[in-house]
């Protein structure tokens, strides 16, 4: 089933799997976000993946399909996570526009581009205890990997470890920042959500 290169089919397939993963953890993500934020992370992610699968973007241009998914995000709710995800997808779209197949080895590059764009959009930095830190972990773990199965498992392991590692640190961005000391020991919901996204892609 897994194609030799990254194509629009593999993207649509990934989105289907992510949908399953997100819906299974929606309540949990709401609760995690509710403890330090406004409790909507599960809701907004669920709404997004539902829309993804209802009207997936057409065509075989990888870049345009990624852009299509990004636009669905900007068209739904205005949550931070949604806007950041749209920003990341757009950055990846720029690098893949006009291509129908992208070597799996470029995934790490796409993650790098996404992370950089998201940091600019969020005026945030690595180490701020946000989704940026797990994207960087995935980028680093996927460097030079060419097989899709290995990509997913390397990314999943790195993301999980990074999420756990950051739990002990203070939040420096978003609504969670206001909790100061109380945030110590808690995992960042945005990191956990990304972990579930990557884990849905495990073979």
């Amino acid at each position: 089933m897994i194609s030799k290169e990254l194509t629009v089919e593999s993207i649509h397939l990934a989105m289907d799997r992510i949908k399953v993963g997100i819906l299974a953890h929606a309540e949990e993500l709401n609760a995690r976000d509710g403890a330090i934020g406004d409790g909507d992370l599960g809701v907004t992610l669920s709404r997004s993946v539902e829309i993804f699968s209802a009207t997936p973007p057409e065509g075989d241009d990888v870049g345009m399909v990624l852009l299509g998914y990004a636009k669905m995000l900007t068209g739904t709710v205005g949550s931070t996570y949604g806007t950041l995800a749209a920003t990341g997808l757009m950055a990846a779209a720029k690098l893949t526009k006009g291509r129908t197949a992208v070597p799996w080895s470029e995934v790490s590059l796409l993650l790098a581009a996404a992370g950089a764009a998201m940091a600019a959009r969020g005026k945030s930095h690595l180490g701020d205890k946000t989704v940026l830190d797990v994207i960087e972990a995935a980028r680093s773990a996927t460097e030079n990997i060419k097989e899709p199965e290995k990509l997913a498992s390397a990314a999943a392991a790195a993301v999980k470890a990074t999420t756990a590692e950051f739990a002990a640190k203070p939040f420096k961005q978003g609504r969670a920042r206001i909790w100061g000391e109380k945030g110590l020991g808690m995992e960042d919901p945005g990191m956990v959500a990304f972990q579930y996204i990557v884990e849905s892609l495990l073979p």
Partner: protein
């Protein structure tokens, strides 16, 4: 505290339905779910359009200030949540009368991201857009780091002044410069006494002891400068004035406007008790107060507490502040 609610999911849309039904001469709903309020006569040919946006639950902020001599449109998010990027961009398109659009909104992370992204979309489609962020909350960052301050009640002055400037036929650059000057002129200190209830969550935004107050707390419960036992109105007013005057030193002969704003539940009676202290202190300093506002201008639903905003005036700002404007919540 108790709320008059139906299904909390419908809270914002039902509110907007009532708003538009009550004041169709001021507000027209457009966009997905009618989540944009525009002036019925938008776009006004040749006039710079002014767009704001932000979370719901702060009426009259943000939506309420769409009106003549004020804002042209507002993109409306859920309670205390940003409006989506597309919504903002659609609002911008709806008010572009050819002279470009100023995005004028409060400095909150989510809003900044979404407005920035909408402005990038606008740029791609050759819609001229500029942004001015209101960052008036003295308690949220030092003067040296002003740009990090949150936007609170000072927004009302920025809407009024920028709206009046746009009405003069000024260019986008001119309206932007004046809006930025107004934003820089605004300094606000708040005090929170009780939280409010989030309709969807059914719970309060934060907790605070029965006899406590928090000076400088943000309108969503962001931590302030000092939490302590509830003091007298005069003591609280004096403390807030001290902080304001340290931020914006005033000298005899200066002219300012003052907004004594309730966060919701705090009644007019108490605002006037506080305003009395403000007026006395400014008089002692030889400062003239122009067109003060006392009331509920920027709220967090039924939160108890209040804020004091100083808007330091120069000749241009004063003239624009006194220029005519009209919406259901503010008429000059």
């Amino acid at each position: 505290m108790k709320k008059l609610l139906n299904n909390p999911v419908d809270y914002v849309n039902e509110m907007l339905e009532g708003l538009a039904a009550a004041h169709p001469e001021y507000y027209k709903r457009i966009g997905a779910d009618g989540r944009i309020i525009v002036r019925p006569d938008a776009p006004v040919k040749g006039k710079v359009g002014i767009v704001t946006g932000g979370g719901s639950g702060h009426l009259p902020v943000f939506t309420g200030y769409v009106g003549k001599g004020l804002l042209d449109a507002c993109a409306i998010g859920d309670v205390f949540a940003s409006p989506g990027v597309d919504l903002i961009y659609e609002a911008m398109k709806a008010v572009d009368g050819g002279a470009g659009v100023l995005c004028l909104y409060g400095n909150y992370g989510g809003d900044v991201m979404n407005f920035d992204m909408a402005c990038e979309m606008a740029e791609m489609e050759d819609l001229k857009a500029k942004s001015v962020l209101v960052a008036d909350d003295v308690a949220s960052a030092s003067f040296a780091e002003r740009a990090k301050r949150r936007g609170i009640a000072g927004m009302v002055y920025c809407f009024k002044i920028a709206g009046a400037k746009a009405d003069t036929g000024a260019t986008l650059d001119e309206v932007t410069a004046t809006a930025q000057k107004a934003a820089d002129a605004c300094h606000t200190m708040g005090v929170a006494l009780t939280p409010c209830i989030l309709p969807a969550a059914g719970r309060t935004t934060f907790t605070i002891g029965e006899n406590e107050m928090e000076i400088g707390m943000g309108i969503h419960g962001e931590p302030g400068v000092r939490r302590g036992p509830l003091q007298t109105a005069d003591e609280i007013a004096e403390e807030m004035l001290r902080m304001l005057l340290a931020d914006v030193p005033l000298a005899s002969g200066d002219r300012i406007s003052v907004l004594c704003n309730s966060l919701g539940a705090t009644p007019h009676e108490e605002l006037y008790i506080v305003y009395r202290v403000v007026a006395k202190r400014l008089k002692e300093l030889g400062v003239t107060v122009v067109a003060p506002l006392v009331g509920r201008y920027a709220t967090s639903m039924e939160m108890a507490g209040m804020s004091i905003t100083f808007c330091k005036l120069d000749a241009e700002l004063e003239q624009l502040l006194l220029a005519p404007c009209s919406c259901p919540f503010l008429k000059v």
